[in-house]
């Protein structure tokens, strides 16, 4: 069942048209080199409803599903992985507000995110415990009408530029991680947040990344997301949803690398033949096509299952692993097919490869994600 319905096809077309009209290659090369966020494109995309398409309509969202959000990200990243990633991640972590926030929290932030006024980021991981959330040491202590947050979070997307962060904190030092962690929303301009930029990265350079330190950051009690003590379960549920969205970005990146390689091998001649006439090129192209289609099938299926409210059985995580792997492999092969040109920034495929590689490190990395799948499919050992 990979057929899209009419509305989904329209969304995909609208996103492709927008990307074709607004994403300029030369500008993108400059912005990527300068680690610059595509501010104006983001505003336009938000105006047209491409940001927060999966937020409820009551909060300036599109009221649509994750599949619709995926189709937009795929189309954007296919045209330009760096811009596409920046636009998709402008709402990074906002799903926590959608799923766990009460009406007041949603009203305070979701419209501003969807309308392109502020960006969102999430701080879950810490240097001390790496990708293992059970070791979170950042604390939130309740004090009358406030929570006071202390600790540090690493590699936060939009760190330093987000209007709001979703932060995972320990709220009960005695309890097990399953009961002792909670999620909070923290406004970016709260006092006591120190930002240390991660500097330039291998890829995804239109998205700022930073380590955040929280020193006695006071937030109102209303900023608790959902129930106290449910943070770990909420974070894991978020990863399942975010996994699908990242898979879609990777799918777009892979498809974009494939498109460019396909065009190139049909044009470029060596030894008086088109590259596409060589059997080894044809084998490579076929392999790339298989990989892209696999990534698409698992991503769309995960999105559909999520939108239908069915049990995910790790499919979102599996989609994230599969699509990220695909994007790296397909972009890598695209560079090889381009030969020397593939190594030049001008060809774009080298950037797709770098962006893909960075996407493959999200959500704690593939080893952590596989450990999670293993926990789930193996279950408790007697």
């Amino acid at each position: 069942m990979t057929e899209l319905n009419r509305s989904q096809k329209q969304i995909r077309k609208a996103a492709s048209d927008f990307a074709r009209g607004e994403f300029d290659k030369d500008r993108s090369l400059d912005m990527e080199s300068a680690n610059e966020f595509p501010e104006d494109i983001w505003k336009k995309a938000a105006d047209l409803g491409f940001v927060g398409v999966h937020f409820p309509e009551d909060f300036s969202g599109g009221g649509m599903g994750i599949l619709d959000a995926c189709l937009i990200s795929e189309a954007f990243c296919r045209k330009d992985s760096s811009i596409g990633t920046a636009l998709a991640l402008s709402a990074s972590g906002a799903e926590c507000l959608v799923r766990f926030g009460d009406a007041a929290v949603k009203d305070a932030f979701l419209p501003r995110i969807a309308e392109g006024e502020i960006r969102c980021g999430y701080g879950f991981f810490e240097s001390g415990c790496g990708a293992d959330l059970s070791g979170v040491e950042t604390t939130a202590v309740k004090n009358d009408d406030y929570w006071i947050i202390n600790g540090a979070k690493s590699h936060v997307a939009n760190g330093g530029v987000a209007g709001v962060y979703v932060v995972l904190c320990r709220t009960d030092s005695e309890a097990s991680p399953e009961k002792g962690l909670s999620l909070f929303v923290v406004e970016g301009d709260r006092e006591g947040i120190d930002v240390r930029s991660s500097g330039r990265k291998l890829g995804a350079n239109m998205v700022a990344s930073a380590d955040l330190t929280f020193s006695n950051v006071r937030i109102p009690v209303a900023n608790l997301l959902g129930k106290e003590g449910k943070g770990l379960a909420q974070a894991e549920a978020f990863f399942e949803e975010a996994g699908i969205l990242i898979a879609a970005q990777c799918l777009g990146t892979a498809a974009g690398a494939f498109d460019r390689a396909l065009t190139y091998v049909k044009e470029r001649e060596q030894f008086n033949r088109k590259l596409a006439a060589f059997e080894i090129t044809r084998q490579k192209i076929a392999e790339m096509a298989i990989q892209v289609e696999q990534a698409r099938l698992i991503t769309y299926e995960a999105a559909r299952r999520f939108d239908a409210g069915k049990a995910m059985d790790n499919l979102g995580t599996m989609a994230r692993i599969t699509a990220a792997r695909t994007a790296v492999a397909v972009a890598d092969e695209a560079i090889q097919l381009f030969g020397g040109y593939g190594y030049m920034k001008e060809s774009e495929v080298e950037r797709l490869y770098r962006d893909a590689k960075v996407a493959g490190l999200t959500l704690g990395g593939t080893t952590r994600l596989k450990n999670r799948i293993a926990d789930s499919v193996i279950g408790k050992l007697k």
Partner: protein, 380 residues
């Protein structure tokens, strides 16, 4: 038992070079990466130190070493995490054309400068329309009295901006057989009609000045032809074994550096109180990576030994070029996965290592070309 016979002299050479790298190169690498070029002075310092063209004889001011010296230069430079000071390309790929095919006069004129670092060399084969298909080149060289007139352009030329001397492949348009049409010429920087383009923006090799070269009615003396007219292809083919071996050396040492860093990182980075290296998944990955690095090292050293013994190992060096350069890529990719998000920051050397490694599977003949050559020689 060692495959290569490292002598005391080799060890002293390595120690001197390592110290040179630490004092003269490492402190400047980030600046060179930002500048997209290294200063000419570092080439001269390398030369004065005896680290350029180590296999040339004392007649030209060189140390008169062997190919193990070349390997040592490759190994020690890999520790500097920069590619701009491409000593291996100069000493072991370009200069050998002059050494093997140059006239006595050409050798006396150019080789001392190549050794001292006053003359930095580049080789210009690749063209916009002729990458893997070298014979498809369109740059022409037409004899006119005592001169040769060159027209055309070359691309992806390493040392393209800094070079003082170019070994240029060009064809005589009057000769139909394209393999017999190619000759090699020595073109000096500053020759009227020879223009260098600006540095190309690349994924990696940021300290390396890769550029396009343009020749417009560029006149050089006929005496600047290298070897016999029409023997260019023969000369290029004759040097490919060493060129591929140099690439394999680069691939292996890049993989070793990546492994070294990753091992150290995993041993010293504690997560939830436990070093990363105590995770079984990470242990197995590192063991697999170390095994591959050892396989690469063993294969490469055997080929260095065979090459030094004058054996024909063109098939094996083609295999080694593809396998070891793929190895470097594979290693960088896995290393970053093990290190996680920190591995993708430019603050971590693995990020540059991945960007720098990627071109090795492409340059000096893509890995697809390598497999094609091996297939042919294997009688397939």
């Amino acid at each position: 038992m060692e495959i290569l016979n490292y002598t005391e002299e080799h060890n002293r050479f390595r120690e001197r070079l390592r110290e040179f790298c630490e004092t003269e190169i490492m402190p400047h690498v980030d600046q060179w990466e930002a500048d997209h070029i290294v200063p000419k002075a570092i080439w001269q310092k390398m030369g004065r130190g005896g680290f350029l063209c180590p296999t040339l004889t004392g007649e030209y001011g060189a140390i008169g070493g062997d190919f193990i010296h070349s390997l040592i230069v490759c190994e020690e430079l890999s520790r500097t995490l920069q590619t701009g000071l491409a000593a291996g390309l100069h000493s072991d790929v370009v200069v050998p054309y002059i050494e093997s095919f140059g006239s006595d006069e050409q050798k006396r004129k150019y080789l001392p400068g190549c050794v001292s670092g006053d003359i930095v060399t580049a080789v210009a084969m690749t063209e916009p329309g002729a990458g893997s298909d070298v014979a498809g080149m369109e740059t022409t060289a037409v004899e006119d009295g005592d001169e040769v007139v060159i027209n055309g352009s070359k691309t992806f030329i390493s040392n393209g901006v800094i070079c003082d001397l170019v070994v240029l492949a060009a064809k005589d348009p009057a000769v139909e057989n394209k393999h017999q049409a190619v000759s090699l010429y020595l073109v000096e920087d500053g020759t009227p009609g020879f223009k260098k383009g600006t540095q190309l923006e690349k994924m990696g090799w940021h300290s390396q000045d890769t550029a396009e070269l343009f020749f417009t009615n560029c006149r050089i003396p006929k005496s600047n032809r290298l070897g016999d007219k029409g023997s260019g292809f023969f000369m290029l083919m004759g040097k490919l074994q060493q060129e591929r071996l140099v690439c394999s050396m680069g691939g292996v040492v890049a993989a070793e550096r990546i492994l070294e860093y990753t091992m150290e990182h995993c041993k010293t980075t504690r997560v939830c109180g436990k070093p990363l290296s105590k995770s079984q998944a990470i242990q197995f990955a590192l063991v697999e990576m170390a095994t591959e690095a050892k396989l690469g090292r063993t294969f490469m050293e055997k080929l260095v030994a065979d090459h030094m013994a004058g054996e024909n190992v063109i098939v094996e060096t083609s295999m080694a070029k593809y396998w070891t350069t793929d190895l470097a890529n594979r290693m960088a990719n896995r290393a970053i996965d093990l290190v996680g998000e920190f591995g993708a920051l430019e603050a971590c050397p693995l990020s540059r290592a991945l960007r720098d490694a990627r071109v090795m599977a492409i340059f000096a003949g893509t890995n697809e070309i390598m497999k094609g050559i091996a297939a042919k020689f294997m009688g397939l």
